[in-house]
């Protein structure tokens, strides 16, 4: 195989890996954040207001 093609292939693979990595993160990012975390922040705030 020609070195030039090999580089091009490596770049293409690299780009696909990057794209898929972004998708792994993006999919998780698009999930609904469970209410328990906002509730937890509210609890922490109230606990501090009392103390």
């Amino acid at each position: 195989m020609h070195a030039k093609n090999r580089n091009k292939d490596a770049d293409a693979l690299r780009a696909q890996i990057d794209e898929n990595l972004k998708k792994v993160y993006q999919q998780a990012l698009e999930e609904q954040v469970p209410d328990r975390f906002r509730d937890l922040l509210e609890q922490l705030r109230q606990k501090e207001a009392k103390g």
């Binding site: 490596a10 693979l13 696909q16 975390f37």
Partner: protein, 195 residues
Amino acid sequence: MSAASTPQAPPAPDPRDELPEHLASLRAFAISLCGNAAMADDLVQDTIVKAWTNIDKFQAGTNMRAWLFTILRNTFFSVNRKRKREVSDSDGVHAASLYEKPAHDGRLAFNDFRKAFDQLSPEHREVLILAGASGFSYDEVAEMTGVAVGTVKSRVNRARARLCDLLGLAAGDDPISGGDADTLAVMGRSGVHAA
């Protein structure tokens, strides 16, 4: 800070007010890191409590997302050392449930990719998500993970090579022009690795 010099200046904003904005990205990082939503949510919960109680250690004006991600990954790696076996078992279950026929165009199928990604070591998943997917610079990742920039770079390269290995691709192979034969090879090898 400089707010003290102007008498009418409002009190310094509480950085904790910023926490809700970061919940989604914190959780996305946690899920990417441990591949298990239940464990990810426990991690996010621990991170929120730690961030809340240690907010005095956060330096105003610095990147809060980076600070939170650092707390989360430190928590993950200290817990992970204790229950390594449990984590790898749950990853196996997660990987096994993700199999799907790859796309006909021969492109790297996302489900195959995801399955390979979940089989990486947590250190490799971490560095690829931080430096690759969530947009931090190598310098930032080095600071967050407590290693030298050169270590981050070599870890990224090794993680990429390992991914290609798990997908049955040599680093120079082209998954686009390979067509069905390569796609089948990817399927076959992924199956072996998943076992």
